[in-house]
Symmetry: C2
């Protein structure tokens, strides 16, 4: 198979051996795969793949057709359209997916949207609902809302009946994020819109003091991106008075059972909305596998709305 | 009635009008009442009483006998032995307690222990179980374990089957804390005993970097005391990789329904252990109401094991 391959901290497209499905695994012929920040970090040597994932093929999410299955597979069979978060290896023509982490692609969902759905919507759903218990009528602010996870979180928050505020640095992207269901403001303006019950932090440490200052009693801050800096000064007295909580996580490092649990929650709570056409996967740009280097460059550049997608030949 | 009374940022014992029970309230003749850090802060003008509590009579917990009840009281009647966390006013001969926040004092529990039980054990239970979901077999560290909340947390953690480590600054207090069910170490030694699933932070910001460094994957830190400093530098990347959580709270500022909820959990989960003689309320010193100033001084000084108790005449 052809696969995006890391060699000397650069990305090339090379021939790799076809993977063989083991017990419980699906072999999926990839149609589309999203690019994520972890992919860039992995190419640069800063984020090695977890055990069980290819060390030299990046890619954390994909959609495609099942072409073979390993022993004891029960949920899917050849020809099924599936999408999934994987620990790595998704930017390749063939990918192994454990069936417990796979989601069925709804009939009306196009391949490019399906390829950019799993990581963003699973991450956003896990943060907002599993970690933060976002509830009907609560006030949510999403920082860095124009990206893949941000656009997913805005839509999920609005779908759950929360009052959604989104911060977007670039003014030209704000109308599109507003159309997903949020009141959109600049990063320095959100405090005047608060207080907030839930803060989804996709930017990093520099936001944390303002997040705490804009938090409601009983508020929850969830940090799932800290590209702008990992260090945060926290006022514990303020946190105590607010009876508040800060959680943080990544999806990639979780063991199989935790990834499967997150996927099953998305299947129950989010897939029906996708199938009903109530969720969109905004796509900023599409590239073919042979241009995967350009896709990563586009991802690294600012000013995108939604996902950068790598497409594979059928 | 006689009551500890704040006048010009000092504490005197003075005559105050007897309080009158309103709907749902018990009028309790105090037998014993614990001293807490919030009391000292209130005397110094730094922590005003919440609405509905006396502004000039400190005291957050007490035990005593019901002498009268307001309308619609269903759970207790005159003569009942009760103990409770209150928003203030406990360092007085008569105190108003909403019946939903009152706990029955077990028959075999002495007044001095009952007077020091509610705040410490409710705070510790809320932090360990409601906030941190401490579970059987998990590894817990309690910082500042020689105080009232600390000795309560060590005992509750051990009773729940957790592996309990306690940090105690003063070497002479360590054997007594160890006897409550913990492995006791100095504040600089706990990292080598970890990692920990739950960290109960009673000291403050200076511990937080070491707490995070000693935290297990999925770990929870709960901050309920920050007397040593409220500012903490948090590494968000580390928090993300650990999929960890920091929560913080105080008991006093909560609305009635939250205090009642916390009391009902203690009634179900902790009172049976107290009644069975499986929990102790270590008492560092006892003072009569007329010596309440001495009690506060003793509380403010270092080197105590457990509670400082103010006793009232029967």
């Amino acid at each position: 198979m052809r696969a995006a391959t890391i060699a000397d901290r650069a990305l090339v497209v090379a021939d790799q051996p076809d993977p063989v499905p083991d017990s419980g695994q699906l072999l999926v012929r990839t149609r589309a795969a999203g690019v994520n920040a972890a992919d860039l970090m992995q190419v640069q040597g800063g984020y090695p793949a977890p055990p069980g994932s290819p060390s030299d093929i990046p890619g954390l999410e994909l959609a495609g057709e099942v072409v073979a299955v390993g022993r004891d597979v029960e949920r899917f069979g050849p020809g099924d359209r599936v999408m999934a978060v994987v620990g790595g290896g998704a930017h390749a023509e063939l990918v192994l997916v454990h069936e417990r982490t796979a989601l069925a692609v709804p009939d009306d969902t196009a391949w490019d949207e399906a390829g950019g759905f799993p990581e963003a919507f699973t991450t956003a759903h896990d943060a907002l609902f599993t970690q933060c218990q976002l509830a009907l009528g609560e006030r949510l602010v999403v920082h860095g809302a124009a990206g893949g996870v941000g656009t997913a979180a805005v839509q999920l928050g609005a779908a759950a009946g929360a009052q959604v505020t989104a911060t977007v640095r670039r003014a030209e992207l704000r109308p599109a994020v507003a159309a997903l269901g949020a009141q959109v403001v600049g990063p320095d303006e959100f405090a005047s819109v608060g207080p907030f019950d839930v803060v989804l932090e996709l930017v990093g440490g520099p936001n944390m003091a303002a997040n705490l200052a804009a938090l409601a009693v009983g508020g929850r801050i969830c940090v799932i991106g800290a590209g702008a800096g990992g260090s945060a000064e926290i006022n514990l007295h303020a946190l105590m008075i607010l009876r508040a909580r800060i959680s943080a996580s990544t999806l990639r490092a979780r063991p199989l059972e935790a990834k499967a649990d997150a996927a099953r929650r998305v299947e129950r709570q989010v897939l029906p909305l996708l199938a009903a056409g109530r969720l969109r996967v905004p796509i900023a740009a599409r590239f073919r596998l042979e241009q995967v280097g350009d896709a990563y460059e586009r991802f690294a550049a600012p000013g995108k709305l939604g996902k950068v997608i790598v497409l594979m030949d059928a």
